[in-house]
């Protein structure tokens, strides 16, 4: 019996020839991503560095495991609380004393996008991140999963992590991608089929003939949502697009890994995307997806393109294409928060920001923004390109969050209600 991509990467990280789903492994980590928030005293009164320092003292060691493999990003700029500001200060102190790469200012943006754009994510690697959406990186054919604060301290000290090798669900994407369907539509449909805990502690492996047509940006968006199906990770096979992209952003060597033809999958899901309709998730959980026609006419107060899920250059291009020469509905706040400053500057160069400004969309700095900060009043309705629509996620618990692709968000912003973006796309 062969192995899946995830099993192969886990075996290599554990230093063994082979592993099978369900095996408990002690794996060596290739990269550790940490968002600045973990350094603030939000979760522990001592903060990440404080707890880490204690461990160092007790263990009688002086340095973090491997500074070249630790990447920190400031996800909120400028800091909006003293606590966060002090956390960022401590992150810099940590980097000064132990070494680590820090992205801030115009080098930064939303951490998960920065990790990818700056070439820290390579095919075949075993990556953990101190944020639940670290699963995003699987788009580039690596193993990547989110870990908690305490585990992060453990990795800083030892470079290792305990893990149960996940069984795999093979999602075969067949057919031809219609031009108005993006990763978000596809993943919302898959999640609806799987159900809220449909991929619990499993890996979602994408494959099939349609994969070649799915852009890296869309793959990132799809892997980003893996944690919302409670998957441990999601992964795309390395192909021409992957290799081209990685070579653009890094000179580092890497070894791509493919699943064996006789790899063992716990279950399979087949989806032909040829006739797909745009998909939207109703408030509550991201697996509440249905074809957009089920939601037509739902009035909205806010339209948001942002988050580590969908605010990349592909998304900004789509939004600008739809909003060009149009104006956001007077009853709607439209907020656009680019994925990173790299995406922000690229969009400016392409004239996209000017189009968005003219349409009355409000542009913000690149950061997590209103995905993690309240912006919705009681009873308000938002359509978001983000990943979470839980009660209270973006403000009042009674506010409602619908999830959709950036095209659906942009078109709905013009109409003041949820619409089918295909009617708004220029021919």
């Amino acid at each position: 019996m062969g192995m899946t991509i995830t099993e192969k990467i886990c075996a290599r990280a554990a230093g063994v020839d082979r592993v099978r789903a369900g095996d408990m492994i002690d794996a060596e980590v290739d990269k550790l991503y940490i968002k600045d928030l973990r350094f603030s005293k939000a979760e522990d009164p001592k903060g990440l560095y404080g707890v880490f320092k204690e461990i160092l003292k007790d263990m009688g060691i002086v340095k973090a495991w491997d500074p070249d493999k630790i990447i920190i990003n400031f996800d909120e700029q400028p800091a909006r609380s003293t606590r966060r500001a002090e956390g960022q200060e401590r992150a810099k102190q940590f980097a000064g004393e132990h070494g680590a790469t820090i992205y801030e200012g115009y080098q930064g943006g939303i951490g998960h996008n920065v990790m990818v754009e700056k070439g820290h994510v390579m095919p075949g690697e075993f990556i953990v991140g101190a944020d639940s959406h670290s699963c995003t990186y699987g788009a580039l054919a690596c193993f990547a999963t989110g870990i908690g604060f305490t585990e992060t301290v453990g990795v800083l000290a030892t470079g290792r992590i305990w893990l149960k090798v996940p069984p795999a669900i093979y999602v075969e994407l067949a057919g031809k991608r219609p031009p108005w369907i993006w990763g978000k539509d596809i993943v919302l449909r898959i999640m609806a089929e799987m159900g809220s805990n449909g991929a619990l502690n499993k890996t979602i492996e994408y494959g099939g003939s349609a994969v070649a047509e799915i852009s890296i940006e869309s793959r990132l968006s799809m892997c980003n949502m893996a944690v919302e199906s409670l998957a441990l990770n999601a992964v795309f096979p390395p192909d021409k697009r992957t290799i081209e992209y990685v070579k653009q952003v890094s000179n580092a060597p890497f070894i791509p890994v493919q699943s064996d033809a006789d790899a063992d999958y716990e279950s399979r899901l087949h989806l032909d995307i040829t006739e797909m309709e745009p998909f939207v998730a109703a408030p509550g959980v991201p697996s509440n997806g249905q074809p957009v026609h089920e939601f037509l006419g739902t009035k909205i107060n806010q339209a948001f393109i942002g988050t580590c899920s969908n605010s990349r250059i592909e998304d900004l291009r789509v939004a600008a294409r739809i909003l060009k020469g149009k104006t956001v509905h007077p009853g709607v706040r439209m907020i656009v928060t680019p994925a990173s400053y790299a995406a922000y500057f690229q969009a400016r160069e392409e004239g996209l920001l000017q189009i968005l400004e003219k349409s009355k969309a409000l542009l913000t700095a690149s950061e997590c923004g209103i995905c993690t900060r309240p912006s919705l009043a009681t009873g308000e309705v938002c359509i978001s390109s983000g990943n979470r629509n839980f009660p209270g996620r973006m403000g009042n618990r009674d506010a409602q969050i619908y999830l959709g692709s950036p095209a659906t968000v942009a078109a709905s912003a013009i109409a003041g209600e949820i619409v089918d973006a295909r009617e708004f796309l220029p021919a």
């Binding site: 939000a42 604060f149 619990l200 409670l230 979470r388 996620r393």
Partner: protein, 160 residues
């Protein structure tokens, strides 16, 4: 940590994300922190602890003295974090129909069983691995690392 214990059950529904668990289940029941007593148990439906990895959510349950969390299914990060904080997190399909709120149950981590002391009904779950038990015994990952790495240092010294 006790490997076998009895506790009173508080029941919650499906798909409660960590944002709503924060502050001792404050998003679901703002009064819960006043009702819960050390040694009590949280029983929930599917996808418990889904969403953000922010550790304030699991820590709030630990700090309230919850002895264990049992659910139909638990998000991977949330489950790992609870264990790394020294709090048993148990996936136990069928648990939400095995018990009613306020009933006492007995949990045995080593044999992997839950017994409803009122109805006498029981359920099995996969027993905890030695590694997980070792982490729980030490009270979490940090104390476990401290002791095991300090132990390694000592044996290295003895061998030299």
């Amino acid at each position: 940590m006790k490997r076998k214990f009895i506790g009173k059950v508080w029941k919650f529904g499906d798909c409660i994300d960590s944002g709503n668990i924060k502050g001792v289940m404050a998003g679901v029941d703002p009064e819960f922190h006043l009702k819960v007593k050390p040694g009590d148990l949280v029983v929930a439906g599917i996808s418990f602890g889904m969403g953000s990895s922010a550790e304030d959510a699991p820590r709030s349950l630990r700090d309230a003295g919850i002895a264990a969390v049992l659910a139909e299914s638990i998000s991977n990060i949330y489950l790992r974090t609870l264990i790394n904080l020294g709090l048993p997190a148990i996936e136990c399909p069928g648990i939400s129909t095995l018990v009613e709120e306020g009933e006492d149950i007995e949990v045995d981590l080593e044999s992997g069983s839950v017994l409803n002391l009122i109805s006498g009904a029981s359920l099995a779950f996969p027993p905890f691995s030695d590694h997980t038990i070792a982490i729980l015994d030490k009270g979490g990952l940090i104390p476990y690392l401290k002791s095991s790495l300090a132990g390694q240092e000592k044996s290295a010294t003895l061998n030299s």
